[in-house]
Subunit: 128 residues, 2 copies
DNA sequence: AACAAATCAGTAATGATTACTGAAATTATA
DNA sequence: TATAATTTCAGTAATCATTACTGATTTGTT
C-alpha cells in the first residue's frame, strides 16, 4: 500500500515543475521520452493522476477537451488561446469572495470555482 | 449550401428549449428516441453542433469531460455538482467588467470568460 | 539474498465524438 | 406535379483521449 519510489514518476514531477505551459499527458509523454525512450503513455497518465491525488499537481480543464496539468497548485486563473491552444497563467488576483457571493443566490454548497478566459494570445495577434 | 428543414433537427431544438438541465448529446439521444425511435446518435451530435454554430445553442464545459448544451445562449454561469453531476444555472449577475480587469495584466485579446462553480447541490446535501 | 508489494511497459478496452456511405427527405425547377 | 439537385439521414466505422489489464521488473523490508 505504501508509495514506492519510481524514477519515471520523479522524471514526470521534475518535468512538470520546470514547465509553466500546462502540458497535457501526451505532451509530457513526448518530452519524457527523450530521457526514458521506452516509458509508456499509461505510466504518464497513471503518475499524473497519482501526483494530482497527492496534491502535487492540479488538473486543469480549459474547454479544449484535453486534461492539462499544472505544478502550481495555488488558486489562479488561466487563459486559453483559441488560435494556438496555449494555456497561459493569468496574473490577476483571484476573487476569493466570489464563492460567498454566489452562495447567496444558490441552494447548495459551493466549494470552488473555476474562471477561464479565452481569446487570442500575444503571440497570435500578429498572425490574425 | 442552403439549410434544409429536418424534423429531427426541429425535435432536437424543441427538446433543448424545453430543458433547463443542460443535457449531453447522449441524453438528448435517449429522449428524442421516444419520439423518433430510429434516430441516429450521429444525427444528434451533428445537429447539436450545427445549432451551436447557428447560435441557437451554446456548448458548455463544466469539467466533467462531457459536452453539455444549453438553449439559453445568454452569458450566465453554471454550477457542477460533484455528487450527482447535475449542471445548474446560477442566478448571480455576470461580472461583465472582468474581461477588462483581466486585460490590464494580460498580453493578448480577451474575448470571453467562463466561470463555473462546483460543490454539492441542494438535492445532494441530505445524502452527504 | 529473498520475499512481498508497488510499478512498469506494452497492449487491449472503453467512452465520447467525428467521419463515411448509400438511402431517404427536402427544396428548387421545369 | 414530376424531376433533378442537394441536404440530411441512419447505420456503421474510425478516431482520439483516457483507463484498465497482464505478466515482467523495481523497490523496500526482513
Amino acid at each position: 500500500m505504501a508509495l514506492k519510489y519510481s524514477r519515471q514518476r520523479e522524471a514526470i514531477k521534475e518535468f512538470m515543475m520546470s514547465r509553466k505551459d500546462h502540458p497535457t499527458a501526451d505532451s509530457v509523454y513526448m518530452h519524457i521520452r527523450n530521457e526514458y525512450p521506452n516509458i509508456s503513455l499509461g505510466t504518464v497518465y497513471r503518475n499524473l493522476q497519482l501526483l494530482t491525488e497527492l496534491g502535487e499537481l492540479q488538473k486543469i480543464r480549459v474547454g479544449d477537451g484535453l486534461d492539462h496539468f499544472d505544478a502550481d497548485t495555488s488558486l489562479h486563473y488561466h487563459f486559453y488561446c483559441n488560435e494556438c491552444g496555449a494555456v497561459i497563467d493569468m496574473n490577476m488576483d483571484c476573487i476569493r469572495e466570489i464563492n460567498d457571493i454566489a452562495s447567496k443566490t444558490f441552494d447548495g454548497i459551493i466549494e470552488s470555482h473555476n474562471l477561464t478566459f479565452s481569446g487570442i494570445c500575444g503571440k497570435c495577434i500578429p498572425k490574425s
